[in-house]
């Protein structure tokens, strides 16, 4: 019984940490402009629209976060093996991974932006100095919370995978959840704020991203401020629900029916989510109506 109660506590804590991780991951990737919407940041100068948006598509978000979280987990694990205090080990691992993230962000911004010089796109050193550290701050939060989740799974829950291997699994899942949920909100809703609300961006408008703010040119930090109101929390909710339900169904129901309880609970949760999705689609069609007459 005590084992189950501790398991439920860890499940709740891991779910909450995952929600923070997802929100920080999406905000970091939007401020740094990483992931699929960055194709437009790269495209804009080629279409004649030079800008001051950060441009650091190191790679897709899932492999990038796999690297950073696994690196932090690996370093933390090495320190733990040396007998270091767990919190200190995780913080040191995260600091190292964040420095690597900063190096990647700097080289990616300089390299990608310099490659656009023939289209008249300057490299802004003040953008580099002001935005890189902001992305590093958000990356620290995302990496730290994910490493803590992995640590809880490896030590308290007793998952057979070692800490670095858990880092690969949950780093990739973090990037996948964050990019899947958060990318459209940054790509469509923020970069193309000049397009009609409630419709996709016409393909002919590609590259014509919004480059000006209320005063002066738009900063990437403002993009994070904007997406933190919906895309970030939605990504956090997505990753939080994934971690929470994955643990919850196992911790509570694995003891029933020789392990099949967790499988059945998972199947029931999936069906509930399918019903909710069906309702969301129906609601959207009824309330938004068709764009044109059929």
């Amino acid at each position: 019984m005590q084992e189950i109660i501790i398991g439920i506590g860890v499940t709740a804590l891991a779910g909450a940490l995952a929600a923070v991780a997802g929100a920080a991951e999406d905000t970091e990737s939007n401020i740094g402009s990483q992931g699929d919407p960055n194709s437009q940041v790269q495209l804009a100068p080629q279409m004649g629209y030079t800008h001051r948006i950060y441009n650091k598509a190191v790679s897709g978000e899932p492999p990038a976060y796999t690297l950073w979280v696994t690196l932090a987990c690996g370093v933390a694990w090495a320190f733990l093996m040396m007998g270091m205090n767990a919190i200190l080990a995780i913080v040191l691992g995260t600091v190292l991974a964040t420095i690597v993230q900063g190096v990647y962000a700097t080289t990616a911004y300089l390299g990608r932006t310099a490659s656009l010089s023939k289209f008249g796109q300057p490299v802004f050193t003040d953008v580099l100095k002001s935005v890189t550290t902001v992305t590093m701050g958000h990356a620290f939060v995302a990496i730290f919370t994910t490493v803590v989740i992995c640590y809880l799974l490896a030590t308290v829950i007793g998952h057979p995978f070692s800490l670095p291997l858990l880092g690969i699994v949950w780093g990739l899942a973090l990037g996948a959840a964050g990019s899947a949920t958060g990318n459209p909100y940054y790509g469509k809703e923020r970069q193309y704020q000049n397009q009609k609300f409630g419709a996709g961006v016409p393909i002919s408008a590609s590259g014509n991203i919004v480059r000006y703010a209320e005063a002066g040119q738009r900063s990437s930090i403002d993009n994070g401020f904007f997406t933190a109101k919906f895309g970030g929390p939605a990504s956090g909710l997505c990753f939080g629900l994934i971690v929470f339900f994955e643990l919850w169904r196992t911790v509570l129901f694995e003891h029933y029916l020789a392990g099949w309880g967790a499988v059945i609970a998972g199947a029931v949760i999936i069906i509930i989510f399918m019903v909710i999705d069906r309702y969301v689609e129906k609601w959207a069609r009824e309330n938004y109506g068709p764009y044109t007459e059929a």
């Binding site: 992931g35 194709s39 995978f161 990037g175 899947a180 459209p184 996709g200 939605a234 994934i242 392990g259």
Partner: protein
């Protein structure tokens, strides 16, 4: 997509008998070598797991960069990364349940992958509908075969659709299910083999090699898809036999190397 582009895409994904037969023959040779070396049965199950992953990736609705601008339906990220995210979440669940027996572990892995996709796909639609005021619409079909909803009038002007119509949502869940199942099967087979060989670090080695093989197969399948796919109703879905054949060969090679690692230890 214009009719011309659609035709060109269909040709690009056509089944090519000669390379396929060559790949199959090579895969059979590698598996035969496996039987000679006494690891044939394990290798066959690893290859089966890889085939499940390759098939499953084709179900996952991935829209890539166009989806991030609401220009195409699907999830706004890359094919192999999303499939791997779901598959590894499944592998996490399967590995956790490994001590409860093969059937429970496989089912746990499959459900873990499906659960990850069910939540992700729901949040994608939530983001489109409640964050951007855009209803889901497919660009490849007139009517959703599951709900019967007509699609073209809900597609905004100048786009190929957006969001995840219900058929794409179900495709995502099936993709996660198959990915989690295949990944867990590979992990369990490697784990049992390494444990039988008496390796101290069997769990770690089996886990990292299962992750690696998952990525190999997911990337191969992504090459077959070439960019974006809406799910099981997309014409590109019919290309899956080619990816399965490629996965058979790649997994046979990777699998035999993974099994022969014990000789080095």
């Amino acid at each position: 997509m214009s009719a011309i582009a659609a035709k060109a895409g269909a040709d690009a994904g056509a089944f090519q008998p000669v390379p396929s037969i060559i790949a199959l023959v090579l895969a059979i040779i590698v598996i035969a070598v496996g039987f000679v070396l006494g690891v044939g049965q394990t290798l066959c199950l690893i290859v089966l797991g890889a085939a499940l992953i390759a098939f499953g990736v084709h179900f996952v609705p991935v829209g890539g960069a166009p989806a991030a601008m609401g220009q195409a339906p699907g999830i706004a990220t890359g094919v192999p990364m999303l499939a791997a995210g779901a598959g590894l979440a499944g592998l996490f669940g399967g590995a956790w349940a490994a001590e409860l027996g093969l059937a429970v572990a496989l089912a746990g892995g499959a459900i873990g992958g499906a659960l990850m996709m069910a939540i992700t796909c729901l949040m994608v639609n939530m983001s489109y509908v409640f964050g951007m005021g855009i209803p889901p619409a497919s660009g490849k079909i007139e009517k959703d075969p599951l709900t019967g909803y007509s699609q073209p009038e809900f597609k905004s002007q100048g786009t190929e659709g957006h969001g995840l119509p219900f058929i794409s949502y179900v495709g995502g869940v099936i993709g996660g299910l198959l990915g989690g199942l295949g990944g867990t099967l590979i992990y369990i087979e490697l784990l049992e083999f390494y444990e039988a060989a008496g390796l101290d670090f069997a769990v770690g080695l089996a886990g990292i090699l299962a992750v690696a093989m998952f990525l190999v197969i997911a990337v191969l399948a992504a090459y077959n898809i070439t960019g974006t796919i809406e799910g099981p109703h997309d014409p590109k879905f019919k290309r899956f036999p080619r990816a399965i054949i490629a996965a058979l060969l790649a997994s046979a090679l990777c699998g035999i190397l993974a099994l022969l690692l014990v000789l080095l230890v």
